[in-house]
């Protein structure tokens, strides 16, 4: 299940553009993510963050340039193998409404033909990892709170132990308290697991809390790509604008 190990970056965007109907959603993106690093893609809606994310697990293919995962272009990867080695978390979980919590979490192990007992054990392990009671296994997503659904979404993405995680505004739909809780837990989880992660958000506070590096995007372009410690001190006007909006935010 683990993707072939390599010493280079886990994910590389090599001058990637993505156009649809002549409109460029991503322009000449050049960026790499090292093994075990959390990169936050920051930007407002329509800046190309989500599109960039989907170029990694081949939900989209670049119009020009290439995206390499473990050194291999996504066009050369078998899409099914590639996706099963990448966990994907989206807003509100994207859970299967007709599957129980257990089946949602155990789906990738199931289609990878793990033995039944191993899947069951893994589901319980994952529930514990994201702080959910094992009593929830037989519930359906609609019977859960937003925060619980999001935790199940994270558990599902981690179930087959993929080396890479893609997260698309995973905590965007949660109330502020639950969101803060989930952010803290995710940070703790990442410190232990050290997955290679790309985390998409429009929330600077979230970016500064979770990132090893922050890449700021605007209008399909990468504006800056800095370690999280250096980001707040950048003189780039757009970064200044973000920092200003952040510091005047009512507490």
């Amino acid at each position: 299940m683990t993707a072939p190990a390599s010493d280079g970056p886990a994910i590389t965007f090599d001058h990637v553009s993505f156009r649809v109907n002549g409109r460029a959603l991503v322009r000449e993106l050049a960026l790499s993510v090292n093994q075990g690093e959390t990169l936050v893609l920051l930007g407002r809606s329509g800046s190309g963050k989500t599109t960039s994310l989907k170029l990694v697990n081949r939900l989209l293919l670049p119009s020009t340039g290439e995206v390499r995962v473990n050194g291999q272009s996504t066009t050369e990867w078998d899409p099914i193998r590639l996706r099963r080695s990448i966990g994907y978390v989206i807003q509100d979980g994207g859970l299967f409404p007709h599957f129980t919590v257990a089946r949602n979490i155990g789906l990738v192990p199931e289609i990878e033909n793990w033995p039944k007992e191993k899947i069951e054990a893994r589901v319980h392990e994952m529930l514990a990892l994201v702080g959910l009671s094992p009593e929830l296994t037989d519930r359906y997503p609609q019977q859960l709170s937003g925060g619980q659904r999001q935790r199940v979404g994270v558990a599902r993405a981690l179930a087959a132990d993929p080396p890479i995680l893609l997260l698309d505004e995973p905590f965007g739909a949660l109330d502020p308290l639950t969101r803060a809780e989930m952010q803290k837990e995710f940070r703790g989880l990442q410190q232990r697991m050290k997955k290679t992660a790309i985390f998409v958000t429009h929330d600077l506070r979230e970016a500064l809390l979770l990132a090893d590096r922050v890449a700021l995007m605007e209008d399909g372009r990468l504006i800056v790509n800095l370690p999280v410690t250096e980001f707040p001190h950048s003189q780039e006007p757009l970064v200044r604008a973000y920092m200003e909006a952040f510091s005047t935010e009512p507490r």
Binding site: G94, L95, H98
Partner: protein, 214 residues
Amino acid sequence: MNFWHFMVTNRQQVLDLTLEHITLVGLSIIFAVLIGIPLGILITRVPQLSKAVIGGANVIQTIPSLALFGFLLPAPWIGERGGRLAVLALTLYALLPLIRNTYAGIRSVDPAVVEAGRAMGLTDRQLLFQVELPLASGVIVAGVRIATVLSVGVATIAAAIGAGGLGEFIFRGIGMVDNQVILAGAVPAALLALSADVGLGALERRLGTLRLRS
């Protein structure tokens, strides 16, 4: 002659014609499901075909049923027996609700859920059988229900080409200008339609709750 009296004295024939009617409708619904659901799935995969397929099924539906039976009469093998011909015509009629509901049902599945499945590495096949079809099943069964109720009615006309079924009583009653005989065909047919509606409706609601969970 009183309606009940007619039913009781002719109970064997009522039963036979009812069973014949159920066979005609049952067989054609089975064929329509076997053809219509795959066609409905196909046009979600090849959307360029959707206009032609749904349009074609629509055109068939607009042909008056008696005329459709007539058109099919010269067909080889099929035209030799009224029963075969009736099953073919009824199958053609039942296609539209099945194709349309399968298509609409799959299209109505939350795109975020489908994309999540794709992103998790489900193959097209797994996505179809584990995600799309289960979530569309309520709408698809609604199509089966509509097609069945429709077929029970249209099948009464099959008697005109000698296919049997409850239409026998209706046509005979018209010929005899005897309402009791017409009712002997019409009442059981109405009951069949009603029970198909209720039974499949219950199944549909059961499957529909799956969708409500999203």
